[in-house]
């Protein structure tokens, strides 16, 4: 379906582009570059912030827009926790603490002549997976024609008194052989995220996780996510884990709007999509999430 639509757009664009294309002198207001910190943080890892700047649409400067030698401060519940150390080009990492669920973290960054930016976010309490079940091969009547898929069911209880947002990722572990023929100690296990989607119309697809959802419909109730993926994605008998992330509202808005904008790129006739940002006086995202993992097999 999308294919046909794209064919039509392509045909129309061919008709259109073959006509006149001229360069116009468009008055774009001078863009004052803003700091763009990007950080997803959770309880398992040290915070890593990638820092860069925005670039005006007609800016022809070729040099990289990463920002080095910036002061990146993190506060926990209003108290300074750490000044992040730069470990790479535009990358700053915390060393001394891992964030905890339920606490509010503030980010404050100063660099060069740019406006100081700050943001705040909390890691939501992790939502446990009550139980799960896995069908190796089940017939699914789906939007893509129907076929045999592997299906994973994850059951959760959504807390009633808060707004919850979920993201689900499924990983499989491939065994890589370093030598041929393989000998002892010659293998490496690598985690790989697989394309796992849901038929439920209440879920949202994002390029970050194929299954994302808010709790509007299921607030306070038990709910089972039914995640489908092709059996071709997994090696027989390989390990599969499923991760249920409880993400903050800002995380959810950012992931869905970013995907929205990516989907509409290249289509000059669609309405522009505004990507969400919670950075004051800047752009980017500072958002927390927590995880519950189950080993499926």
């Amino acid at each position: 379906m999308k294919k046909t639509f794209n064919i039509i757009i392509a045909l129309l664009l061919v008709l259109v582009i073959q006509s006149c294309e001229t360069v116009v002198d468009l008055k774009i207001p001078e863009h004052k570059q803003l700091l763009v910190p990007n950080c997803f943080f959770n309880t398992d890892s040290f915070m890593v912030v990638q820092l860069s700047t925005s670039k005006g649409s007609l800016d022809n400067n070729q040099k990289s827009n990463t920002v080095n030698a910036a002061t990146v401060q993190v506060f926990e519940n209003e108290q300074i926790k750490e000044i992040l150390q730069q470990i790479g080009d535009g990358i700053y990492k915390a060393n001394t603490f891992k964030p905890k669920a339920g606490k509010t973290y503030h980010l404050k960054i100063n660099a060069g002549n740019y406006d100081e930016v700050d943001a705040a976010n909390t890691i939501p309490i992790p939502i446990p997976i009550n139980n799960f079940s896995f069908k190796d091969s089940a017939f699914i009547e789906s939007g893509e024609g129907g076929g045999y898929m592997a299906q994973l069911t994850l059951n959760i209880s959504d807390p009633a008194n808060e707004q919850n947002y979920y993201a689900i990722q499924v990983f499989t572990y491939d065994t890589m052989f370093l030598n041929f023929p393989p000998g002892l100690g010659d293998t490496l296990i690598i985690a790989r995220k697989i394309y796992a989607y849901s038929e439920d119309p209440n879920t949202t697809y994002s390029s970050y996780a194929e299954v994302m959802m808010n709790d509007e419909i299921i607030n306070g109730q038990n709910y089972s996510f039914k995640i489908n993926f092709s059996s071709y994605e997994i090696m027989p008998n390989s390990k599969i884990t499923a991760v249920l992330q409880s993400v903050s509202k800002e995380f959810f808005l950012y992931a869905t709007t970013l995907t929205n904008q990516q989907n509409n790129q290249g289509n000059p006739f669609s309405e522009p999509v505004r990507v969400y940002s919670n950075i004051n006086k800047g752009l980017g995202i500072f958002a927390g999430f927590s995880e519950s993992t189950v080993i499926v097999r």
Partner: protein, 788 residues
Amino acid sequence: MQNKLISKVYYLSCCFIFSLCIVSKAQKFTISGYIEDKATGEKLIGASIYEPRLKIGAAANSYGFYSITLPADTLQIIIRYIGYAPQVMKIKLSKNESFNFKLSPSNELKTVEIVETRVKKIEERSQMSTIEIPIAQIKSIPALFGEVDVLKALQLLPGVQSGGEGSSGFYVRGGGPDQNLILLDEAPVYNASHLFGFFSVFNADAINNVELIKGGFPARYGGRLSSVVEINMKEGNNKELHGEGSVGIISSKLTLEGPIIKDKTSFIVSGRRTYIDILARPIIKAKNNGAPAGYYFYDLNAKINHKISDKDHLYLSFYTGDDRFYVVAKDGFQNYEQESNYQLGWGNMTGCLRWNHLFGPKLFANTTATYSKFKFYTKISEKTTQTNNGVTTKDEFSLNYFSGINDWTGKVDFDYYPVSNHKIKFGINNIYHTFNTGATQYKINQTSLTNVDTTLGSHPIYAHESTIYIEDDMKLSEKFKANLGVHGSGFLVKNTFYKSVQPRASLRYLLPKDVALKLSYATMAQFIHLLSNSSIGLPTDLWVPSTDTVKPEFSQQIAIGLAKTIKSDYEFSVEGYYKKMNNIIDYIDGANFLESNKDWQKKVESGKGWSYGTELFIQKKKGKTTGWVGYTLSWTNRQFENINFGKPFPYKYDRRHDFEVVISHKFSENIDFACTWVYGTGNALSLPIASYNGLGYYKGGYQNQSTVDYYGDKNSFRMASYHRLDIGVNFKKKKRYWERVWNISVYNVYSRKNPYFIYFGYDDFGNKVAKQVSLFPIIPSISYSFKF
């Protein structure tokens, strides 16, 4: 004794005078009947009938019926209609009379002027914000690819904007393209464009007249916020068989009309089809592996008109039209063959049965039943044939996505003319809507597996829209006229009921020097909405009903203006208006129609809009040179809570200045010339002002997935202004039994590169620049028409 006599005489004379008064007051009679073209029998809609001494007049209604009540006296009545020689009739009225007037077309080069008794039409009418364009004038306007277009002609009027280059969607006084009620012989037409809006579905050869109402809506109209376009089809010559046709670059058309029973029953059939796909087929097949591809559209109009008796008339009209895009792809190699068939199409069908009945000279009734359907569909089918080890398997897969709207309507309308100062219209109607908001049907036939045939997506939604109205067009004094009315409507969908009572008022006061001051107020309600995905007229537009979460749209409009006929030929009007719209809907950021598994109600947002401006219009309808000049200065804004952070923003089609000149000139009997020049300030659009890194993340490390575009305020940029000159020349030659016309026209004479859309790209040196794509350069075209 003398006193008694005097008082008796006095008493008797009083009685006599009193009774005289009563008798003379009661001595009024009604003349009624039809006004038609003498040669063809076509009814002359809006023809005027006027008694100049008493200054009493009336106009023929949409069926050519008139009714005028005059005192018993010797009267001189004048019947006039644009393009026809007026008729004068002397009558001594002593009872109700029934007359059918038959007018003959006037010879433009020898116009007979009756200056003193001319009816100054524009000042006479209390209705304002209304423009009527004679069909002859529409046909003379030079057009894109030589295709005369009724809706494109409307876009040349002040207060009406076209969407973009080539598009035939129109925006009236800041309203959206779904806020126009387009009626073809009283049946609503939902999608009036072919080929993404480059052409409209109306074949000008089948049309009698076109009227556009932008404000001050009389009570009989409702259901859309911004405009009413009433298009009446011709009825068909009821005396002789005639036809006309034309062969053009893009399409050809043929119209046939004539009597079935002379003077009683007539028909008209008109068809149009493009044939560029047939002509290009060999070339396309060669480039596409032997498989055809192409695009075509067609229109078919048909009408039968039957006069049952002097009191009863029956009309049956029908329209169908379709656009179709098709691509066949063939692929194959040893033991494997695949044929794919893609089709994209959309179309309307309308049917209408009407019965006019005269309940006496003062009451005219019209009962109508109509059916209207709009459908958009995408069909993909794939057939794969494989041979493996001697076993042949065939797989067939088809997917059919469709959406659309069907209406069944029943109406009864009355025109009541009780006394000469009042013309009352009242009526009742009901529309039964069926909304198909997007369903997908899958069929799989596989030799190896079980077959599948399912339909997913939304179920049809049913709704009833009912209306009752009453209006009175009255003359309160020599100088003061008013049309007051009330329109009541209700909408029932699932278990939700919406109702609305809409007062309508139009007033006219005649100032000195015959300048009319007009004032109008109208509220309108719209219970159905159009979800329009993109700015090109793609038929992915979806009609949806109001529901319990998506409320009906409302508008209020006031307008004030002055009108005058200058030098008896030029109709001049200037109007200012202010319009407020509530509950208008728009897609939320990035939503699109393709996510058919998502409830459309969750993809839209309600907001408000307001528009105000001034329109100036000068029109000349008679003489060797005809045409008009229009200018509009307007502002249109929108505001939605979740779009543009809740701040008001200019509507995409907010055009500050809009100016047009249309001129037709007849050099001689055989040569006439027309040109149009339009100018408009550019459309508003949103462009990214900066870009930055976006973050994608999954277990195992960060990944910068993309570059994010950062937009400032919505619609804060303007494209360059739009202007264009078109010219056309007709060379006529009258032969014995027929007439032929060669038409040569040029679209965009000075090849102005008008902006179609803008994006950011790179120039030849690798610098980032803004690029503008234009669509149509200078396009000459030629067509050949004939008439017999």
